[in-house]
Amino acid sequence: MKRVTINPITRLEGHGKIDIFLDEKGNVANTYFQVPELRGFEQFCVGRPAEDMPVITSRICGVCPEAHHIAATKALDQLFGVEPPPAAKKIRELFYMAFFVTDHTTHFYALGGPDFIVGPDAPPAERNLLGVVKKVGLDVGKQVIACRARNHHVIEMLGGRGIHPVAGVPGGWSRPVSAAERAEIETIAAQNVAFALFTLKVFDQIVLGNPAYLDLILSDVYHHRTYSMGTVDEQNRLNFYDGKIRIVDPEGREFVKYEAADYAQHIAERVEPWTYLKFPYLKKIGWKGFVDGVESGVYTATPLSRLNASDRLATPLAQEQFERFYQTLGSKIVQGRHQPVHQRLATHWARLIELLYAAERMQELAHDPEITSPDIRQIPQGVAGEGVGSVEAPRGTLIHHYVSDEKAILTKVNLVVGTTNNHAAISMSIRKAAEKFIHGFEVVEEGFLNRVEMAFRLYDPCLSCATHTLPGEMPLIVNIKSYDGESLQSLRRDG
């Protein structure tokens, strides 16, 4: 057996390594991806006052502190048994939408974008943000920076601090929104809507307008018929801040819809001997291995799965794009809803539709007269002792689960982070890409490596949800080894 090692994966959070094992004939026998996960965060939190969690958990990772802050704050509402006033919920959601706009924008232009905008076969040195800006123009680069800046400003204004927000408290939010702030946010939200529409147009022209890219999206390389997870409101419309978690089967039929607090009844975690990563699966279906289909408990929690789990979107322009998305990708309407799309590269497109939804939702909330209400806090009167808070983080459904003693000192902490939901699916996508591109010891080409990475990147994984660290620029190393460890070939590229 030969072993191909891709280590580490470029442009992903954490240190990732992909091992590809070849059989005697030189075809793919197995693929594994591994990350040295930082463990022990839950234990680090036990013994601390529960109310510290929104601030501590926002430090798990610098990429999405806002998602952890909101999930933690919602878990505390339950742990202290308080219901926040409506205005507080709206401010939280407004804050969260500003975060979604910056995160999805950054992903498209800086991370996922290079695969499509610059091109899957472009030299690695050009497949970065600079390459994107050279292709789409300096003015677009300026708009990306401006979009980030204005939304970071909103996050700081509402969250009390630029990074690691502090405004979320059990039972509400610690500062009201003034009339002047509301007006400013309304203007910013309108700019966000315009920018999201512009970005969708860029995607249209560069990606959908290119038959080769469209073929790649529609090809079966990145196609998996799994279950889809997403949070929906009472009308089964996508919601990032609150609602029930809904799972639809590969045909689009609702499989289950549950309160986040009941997550442990529906999701179990598979442990594999070759990695610290856990592989969540649907408990009632069971773990059948790294396979897709209605009989397999594998599910995904991504922008694509969220659209699949929703009947429609709650804002008008995003809804138009939602319709167009399913029509373009050939999804039929069955029993009043679109059949799910399973072409995983469409996740990039789904992410931009979510960007538009977040921008429009931000505009709605900024326009809501209640957003400036001073009634933003319900003071806790006791300790219920247990709380589960969940949100849709950019990379998947995020759950914080705390148990405390009667003084609200934490005795148990469990976090299910966005990326974790997708571990099994990520493994499957890598394997499929490898099977497609490796046959009979065929020499590994750079385009192949890009495609294995593309399989990975579309999920936008944060591999450890803890480490933001990398050893400077990341080299890409490919080692081809015989089964006894003898190195047969070594390829390397830097950056």
């Binding site: 430090r59 502190p65 920076i145 690691h164 944060c462 990398l470």
Partner: protein, 164 residues
């Protein structure tokens, strides 16, 4: 000269917090200086570049891990030396070098002078609010070094940047 001091790292990952701890100590020491701003960042390329925008001088303090490096060692670096720095590269918003190039391309007002103080870390994988002893001992050394850099560079005719 308008100066920004940025401490980078994660406050709950042992030695990864060293840049932040130095920046906090400097914020206290430089409270009276209206021309110096200090802040804390988790890392990142774009975000770091954006933070420096509009200042004439930047001082970045970060943890570093070099091959065979002795924990607590202090290095002063330029952005072009950054291949080994722990936090100046983020896969979720690109590398610092790339971001600086982008900033220049877009005509942002980036500081002509950027100094990175890097402290060799020992443990960056354990959740803890404490530094390891060697790294802890480096904190006052770096604080003093940065203070000296700021003062020296204030005086006309003297160029700084390589003092330790």
């Amino acid at each position: 000269m308008s100066t920004i001091i940025v401490g980078i790292g994660n406050r709950v990952l042992s030695d990864d917090a060293v840049g932040i701890k130095v920046a906090h100590a400097l914020a206290d020491a430089l409270r009276s200086r209206s021309d110096v701003v200090t802040c804390e960042l988790w890392g990142g390329g774009l975000r770091l570049m954006e933070t420096l925008n509009g200042h004439e001088r930047a001082i970045i303090i970060d943890a570093i891990m070099t091959e065979g490096g002795k924990p607590g060692s202090v290095y002063t670096l330029k952005p072009s030396d950054l291949r080994q720095s722990r936090n100046t590269y983020s896969t979720h918003d690109g590398g610092f070098q790339e971001a600086l190039e982008l900033g220049a391309m877009l005509g942002l007002n980036l500081p002509p002078q950027i100094t990175i103080w890097a402290i060799e870390a020992d443990d960056v994988e354990t959740y803890s609010e404490n530094l390891t002893p060697e790294v802890e001992r480096a904190v006052p050394v770096v604080v003093e070094g940065v203070m000296r850099q700021i003062d020296l560079e204030q005086q006309p005719g003297l160029s700084g940047g390589e003092q330790k």
